[in-house]
């Protein structure tokens, strides 16, 4: 439905006449990334922004940092598309913003209209603190139930799968066990793995393991991994880069870091493996919620729908290498589709219990 039409002519430009609904000519190719991974993709399915009401007005957006910074590009594109739309954004670490919103909410009202976070735990925390307003059904309905809050307080916008980056020169995919439980016994990985236990996504992975297998087993696994020899890093991009460098044979990291390494360093010896059906296959999400007390609810809802549009999802898939949340958009490159991943069945809101995980990690001597 005309997604690729690139709007209705007009050379866009910064002088886009006021009052017109379309601003600069923003086409799908603007949303879509470039490079070998993106070449020859099909047109995305789903609701196009062409079919959505125009965004107009000022929105205050709290934007969870980390790679969430990438999302700013999406915001910019939307702002270009809709000259009457401005998103005042505030970029900070997701968990800090969650804390801030909770404090603000307790003190009266938060200046934020929308919170966009890179992890479900932060979304859950804000939701659990009763700081959210309801989301539009149009948005919720496009996203699988697993990737939204059961009460509809937040909705996923991009998926982040746990994965095992590995150095293709040192080991082959077959050396990598298919469940995380087997890692401590894998001879090929002895003394050559890395993880980033202070990184939120890793902690979510451990939380998931606790939810699935209980604290005791998680504890033994953590200890076994340490006995097996594992190096600690401070974030997973570095874990992934170290795999490409050959400093590590394999590591625990979110999937998109490997794709980023690949696209930045052509022909680097890095491969990506997934475990199956266990915490190691967890798919966590970036998501959105509308903050309690906003006087901009309509705009916020419309904004959420835009983020779940075909173009925006294509953006997440091709620019951030995340898993798109709507069925019409495929993940980038040869990534398995999200349902092929066989993620564990977990209520993502429960990932908010990071505290227990931190205790456990500390008791295990990992943190």
């Amino acid at each position: 439905s005309g997604i690729l039409s690139g709007g209705d002519g007009g050379d866009g430009g910064s002088d886009g006449e006021a009052g017109t609904t379309t601003g600069q000519q923003i086409s799908l190719s603007d949303f879509r990334g470039s490079g070998p991974l993106v070449a020859q993709r099909e047109a995305p399915g789903g609701t196009s922004i062409e079919d959505l009401p125009d965004l107009s007005g000022e929105l205050t957006l709290y934007l969870g940092g980390g790679e969430g910074g990438l999302y700013l590009d999406l915001i910019n594109l939307l702002e270009q598309r809709y000259p009457d739309f401005t998103a005042n954004h505030r970029l900070e670490a997701s968990s800090d913003l969650a804390n801030t919103i909770i404090e603000e909410n307790e003190a009266g009202a938060s200046p934020a209209d929308v919170f966009m976070s890179i992890d479900a735990g932060s979304l859950g925390a804000v939701a659990n603190a009763d700081a959210t307003a309801s989301l539009p059904d149009e948005a919720l309905s496009t996203v699988p139930d697993a990737y939204q809050d059961s009460e509809g307080r937040w909705v996923g916008i991009a998926g982040r799968a746990r994965a095992i980056p590995y150095n293709t020169n040192q080991i082959s995919e077959s050396d990598i066990p298919s469940t995380v439980q087997e890692f401590p016994e894998a001879a090929a990985l002895e003394n050559s793995m890395g993880w980033a236990p202070s990184y939120g996504a890793f902690q979510s992975f451990v939380t998931a393991m606790r939810l699935i297998r209980g604290d005791d087993e998680t504890m033994s696994w953590l200890q076994a991994m340490q006995d097996h020899g594992i190096t600690t890093y401070d974030d997973e991009f570095r874990v992934s880069n170290s795999c490409a460098d050959g400093e590590l044979a394999a590591g625990f990291a979110n999937h998109y870091y490997t794709l980023r390494v690949q696209s930045a360093r052509e022909n680097s010896p890095i491969g990506l493996a997934f475990t199956e059906g266990d915490a190691g296959a967890l798919v966590n999400v970036s998501g959105l919620e509308i903050i309690n007390g906003t006087d901009n609810a309509d705009l916020a809802s419309n904004f959420v729908r835009h983020v779940l549009s075909a173009e925006a999802q294509e953006f997440f898939a091709t620019r951030t290498f995340a898993y798109p949340m709507i069925p019409g958009v495929a993940p980038v490159g040869d990534l398995p589709r999200i349902d092929e991943l066989n993620p564990p069945e977990i209520n993502l809101t429960e990932l908010a219990d990071v505290a227990g995980t931190v205790d456990l990690l500390r008791d295990a001597g990992v943190l």
Binding site: S198, F237, A264, R265, V358
Partner: protein, 540 residues
């Protein structure tokens, strides 16, 4: 002049003789007020910590992890402090008291590492000296497969030292600049070489300056998170950080309190070490000590300065440039344009923080340096507490308190600058105080006997003499504010970006190459500002 009016004039001057008001009373009140204002936000830490069950708190504080991490932290703090003194003091001497060529240049390069955000510095080191870093790549063709690992305590000490020694450098240099050289001459005529004279005469007298810098280094090392994390060394702040990640503010607060206790410990050690005998540091002369002629030592001295500048500036800048030049999404694609406004925002904030800190530091430092009673250095000590609190803790505290008590200031530049003042005031206090200690109190007496109110006497006599110390303090606050991240992120107005928030943004997004541009501008602009500050120091 008629005589009758002589004494009438005297009578008119003060119709009532005040009752026993010590000249320090007003000073003490002002200082106390400032320090209370600065400490107030920390109340939040206690409020939050109070929410945790006592037994649980004890358990947390006595867990094996806590103990081992505490020991790690102390090892790091000690190592970094000692190493910073070993680098900072010689550099200060070289740039302040020798005929080293290009002194001004070296002065700036020696101070600048302070502006390199520690995560950039640490990244640079790992990229250069890590297992698969530049150095390893260079060496592997030579058959050297294994280089000693950069990770661990020694790496953390190395990197932290290289980016914090400027504290010691600047405070020591300021002390040296206000140092009376006649006593060095005296020592030399008593057959002491320059070096022996330095050790026995200069060193003990600039000790407060060195101690002030070392204290800042120690507290910085205590509260830094980024560098130890990157260097894969477990320290206390990481525990706190994890609690924040887990959104357990109460736990984080309890741990922060332990951090504060450690900070108090460091403060106590410093007080003991630098508490001299009364008035011991006062030299009244004003003769600048002659420059040490380096002679054959000129070459090693230049090499030393060059090596430090290479490690602290050239290396990170080189790595940044490398990032910039590398292509690919991971490094430079993407498009957040860097706007000049970010630079002005940073400079404006840093200048405001430096100005306020310098003004607020004066009464506190003066009271501490000149006060007679045991409690007169309490406000000074108190200012250091804020410095030891991690930026995130302070940020949250101000979010919490700001929202409740000064909602109109919430997410305003004012609250942000206030946070900087809390964090960085001791940098100005320390340098100012050590300079004041070196000013002969006789000058104030002379001015007062010439009819000057103590305040104007201070302004006209002490102030110009302590200008080097004040300038150093301003430089410290300025540089550290330029790179401050956590509090800036949390407290800035929405949409207000600075150098560091921008760098943080693009780095988080993986655009390392783009981080290079603002980082380079940050270093360049800070260098220019240093020039301005140092010029002021020279004219006084």
């Amino acid at each position: 002049m008629g005589t009758k009016d002589r004494y009438e004039r005297l009578r008119e001057q003060a119709t009532t003789s005040e009752r026993d008001s010590s000249p320090h009373t007003l000073l003490a009140v002002v200082s106390l007020a400032i320090s209370l204002l600065l400490l107030a936000p920390l109340v939040w830490v206690f409020l939050r910590a109070g929410e945790i069950e006592f037994a649980r708190a004890v358990e947390l504080l006595t867990s094996d992890t806590t103990v081992s991490v505490t020991l790690n932290t102390l090892a790091l703090v000690t190592g970094v402090t000692v190493a910073s003194i070993l680098i900072g003091v010689p550099l200060a001497i070289l740039t302040a008291q020798t005929d080293l060529p290009f002194k001004r240049f070296w002065t700036i390069t020696s101070a600048l590492p302070l502006v390199v955000p520690s995560y950039i510095g640490a990244f640079a080191f790992v990229s250069a000296f890590g297992p698969r870093g530049v150095l390893a790549d260079l060496l592997s063709p030579l058959g050297i497969e294994q280089i000693p690992t950069i990770y661990g305590l020694h790496g953390a000490i190395l990197v932290l030292t290289l980016f914090t020694y400027p504290y010691v450098f600047l405070t020591t240099r300021a002390s040296l600049l206000s140092f009376d050289g006649t006593v060095v001459e005296a020592a030399r005529t008593l057959n002491h070489t320059r070096w022996e004279a330095f050790r026995r005469v200069t060193l003990p007298q600039i000790a407060p300056g060195i101690a002030a810098g070392a204290l800042l280094v120690a507290l910085y090392a205590l509260s830094d998170f980024g560098t130890p994390a990157i260097m894969q060394y477990d320290v206390f702040t990481r525990m706190i950080y994890n609690e924040f990640g887990a959104r357990r503010l109460d736990y984080a607060s309890v741990l922060s309190m332990l951090l504060l206790v450690m900070a108090l410990g460091i403060l106590a050690v410093e007080s003991r070490l630098s508490a001299g005998r009364d008035g011991a540091y006062v030299s009244s002369g004003s003769r600048r000590p002659g420059l040490i002629r380096l002679g054959y030592w000129k070459v090693p001295a230049l090499l030393f300065c060059g090596a430090i500048a290479t490690l602290c500036l050239v290396l990170p800048i080189g790595i940044l440039l490398q990032w910039l030049l590398r292509s690919g999404t991971g490094y430079s694609a993407g498009g957040f344009a860097f706007e000049a406004a970010y630079a002005w925002n940073s400079v404006g904030l840093a200048a405001a923080a430096a100005a306020i800190c310098v003004v607020a530091a004066l009464p506190i430092a003066y009271l501490s340096a000149r006060g007679t009673s045991g409690v007169s250095s309490l406000p000074e000590r108190a200012t250091y507490v804020g410095y030891a609190v991690p930026g995130v803790v302070l940020g949250l505290a101000l979010v919490y308190l700001g929202l409740r008590y000064v909602p109109f200031l919430y997410q305003s530049v004012i609250l942000l600058v206030f946070a900087y003042v809390i964090r960085f005031l001791p940098q100005a206090v320390g340098t100012t105080e050590s300079s004041i200690l070196q000013v002969d109190p006789g000058y104030i007496e002379a001015a007062r006997s010439l009819g000057y109110h103590p305040l104007s006497a201070f302004r006209k006599v002490v102030l110009p003499l302590v200008a080097p110390g004040i300038a150093a303090g301003a430089a410290l606050v300025f540089l550290t504010t330029m790179k401050e991240l956590p509090a800036t992120l949390m407290l800035r107005p929405t949409g207000f970006e600075t150098f560091v928030t921008y760098i943080w943004l693009v780095q988080g997004a993986g655009y390392y190459g783009q981080a290079a541009v603002p980082a380079l501008v940050l270093v360049g602009l800070s260098g220019l500002s240093m020039l301005v500050i140092l010029r002021r120091e020279d004219t006084s």
